[in-house]
Structure formats: C-alpha cells, structure tokens
Point group: C2
Chain length 196, copies 2
C-alpha cells in the first residue's frame, strides 16, 4: 500500500508531469491492424515510425485500495483520413470504471462494451468523462496540430486487456471529412460474441 | 452499476460543472469547533452564515466497481487568521485512496493518518495529488480572493467518516502570517489513540 501522499504538476504547455513513475511511448508500428487504411499505415511506418502517444503514470500499486492515475498525451496526426489514437483497451478486471479529465487539446473518447453498445464523447479542456465499468476506451486526437492531454484515474488493480481490441478492433473509427470529424463503422470490427 | 458513459464540462471561470447529480453547500455554521479562534468564528456566523464551500458530485453509485467524483469549490476568506476550508474526512472504508487535480485557484490539502502522521501539499492549477489509503484530507483556500476549484475521484464505496475529524480536529491548521501561509499545530487536536 502507498504510505505517503505525493504530488506532481502537469506542466504547461507540454502536459508532461514534473514527476512520474513510468513513461510509456507508443509508436505507430505498435498499432498494426488498427487503422482503416492499411496501405497508408504501412507507408507511414516505413517513412518514420514516430511516437503517436505517450503515457506518464504516477506510482501504481496493483491493489484495489489504490488508484492508478496519470496523464496521456496523444499527438496530432492522421493515417490516411483517420486520426492518431491510443490502442484502447478494456480493463483486465472488466467491471471497473475510469475517470478522465481533459487538460488541453481537442479530441474524442470512443467507447464500447462487450455487448457492442458504443459511445463517443468530445474532449476539450475542462471535460470530465465517466467511463463506466465494462466499457473499453480509446482516445483520439482530432486537432490538426495540438496535443490531446488527458488525466486518468482507475482502480489500482483494474489492469489492461489490450488483446481483445487488437484482435477485434473498435466498432467505430474517427476520421476527418474535410473540416469535420466523423464517426464511422470499422469494416473489420468483430463483435465479441463472434470468434476472432 | 452505471450503464452508459456520461460527461460534463467544468465551466470557466466559475468551476461549476454544466451537469451534476448532487450539489452540497456547507455554511460556516456547520464547522463548529474546527477553527482555532472560536470568538471570531461565532461572530462571523452571527454576522452572516455564508457558504464556505460547495461540492458538485457526478452520478455516484456506492459500489467498488465505480468511481465517485466531482468538483469542490472552496471560497476565499478567513476566520480570524485561519483560511476557509472543508470539513475534511477519512473514508468510511478507511483503506481507499483519493486523487485530486487542481483546476484553478491556490490552496493546500492537509492530510493525516490515524497514527498522527501528517502532510500538506500546495495546490495550484495543474497539481495532481495522490491521497493514499488511510489518510484524512481537507482542502484549504489560501488565496485572498479566488476560489479553489479541485476535481476529485475515489472508489465508489469509500464513503465519508466526518465524525472522527469533528471530534478530534486535524493535527495541523493553515493560517495567514502577513503575506505568508503557515502550517501550525492545532491546540485542540486529539490523537486517535486518545479517547475523544
């Protein structure tokens, strides 16, 4: 169990906390099969396998008395017409919630539950989003050049199930349609009640 | 269990969410015995029993799969030389953590555990504070005229134990010493291992 309080400050304008315990960088190459336009994806990975999002985690103890927390930063950019996004995941302990607070930037959180219900909420500075137990969640940066910076908190023992999304995809994707942002069906989505 | 995601936006400059489920207002008269200067306290309550803090809660389900969350707003002001503050509490399920994110304002979170260890962290926009399981917590607004606006999250079933603090007080108080803020001993604090 964590014994003493601790604090950090999310620095402006980077969104990077001045103290953290763990730093995760996800490159484009770790997102195989997730973006709709495979050709554009392969080409971009070849050109430059850049970091598309980062996570700065506070001290985390795998214990239901604690809260896992940190800041995620999704970079601006697109693969074809599809915005950069996080892998997205269910919690390993499926029935645990997550809370988001958008610090800066513009984007969307796309969510779905194992029954195939989906939801999407717009993020901008000041938005608090409640992701109920059982809902997978993915952050999407829809801004042309700003980073999407989001604070997150969830039960310390919740863990991550990335595999379900890697295999089956999200039901909905977020793409640019000129100046607008559209939520479209993922042609490769496999419902959870079908074998992957 | 909560079935669908939901979002709100913490509005600027008020700090009030545009949607919430529960609004709590605490007046000065609900803080009997907590401020060091009893005479100044009684006089201020007589003059005007004003709201010294408010809490806007999101939908809350008393369930360890959920996260209780919301925004607290502590008003600027003093009782004698002691800054306006929240009642402060342990969680009823003592061994549960809390996460704070300071949206705006300036202040301090004062904390203590049942063993009498104490801690205080300064709050200003962008500060993330982890309150570990077992630590009581109180928000103090140290700014002369701005409100202290803080987002909070904790396990849905954690609940509140206000009584321990009402009876025994916090070990430390936060007072103004000219332009500075000082953390001083509470002369009326009763350690938890002594009968109240």
């Amino acid at each position: 169990m964590i014994e003493r309080p601790f604090a950090c400050i999310v620095q402006k304008p980077t969104g990077i906390p001045d103290r953290y315990d763990n730093h995760i960088e996800r490159r484009l190459s770790s997102m195989t099969g997730q973006f709709r336009d495979h050709q554009a994806y392969e080409k971009l990975v070849q050109q430059s396998d850049r970091v598309i999002y980062e996570v700065y985690e506070g001290r985390r103890v795998d214990d239901q008395r604690e809260l896992a927390h940190g800041v995620s930063i999704v970079k601006p950019g697109k693969v074809g017409d599809e915005f950069f996004m996080t892998k997205g995941h269910f919690h390993a302990v499926l029935e645990t919630a997550e809370l988001y607070y958008c610090i800066q930037g513009e984007g969307m959180i796309v969510m779905e539950n194992p029954e195939g219900d989906w939801a999407a909420e717009r993020m901008s500075a000041g938005v608090v989003l409640y992701v109920p137990p059982r809902w997978a969640h993915r952050s999407v940066n829809t801004h042309p050049h700003d980073e999407l910076v989001v604070l997150f908190a969830y039960r310390g023992d919740a863990g991550h199930d990335y595999q379900s999304i890697e295999r089956r995809g999200f039901r909905k994707l977020v793409v640019a349609a000129g100046e607008r942002t559209e939520i479209v069906d993922n042609p490769r989505w496999i419902p959870l009640h079908q074998p992957a």
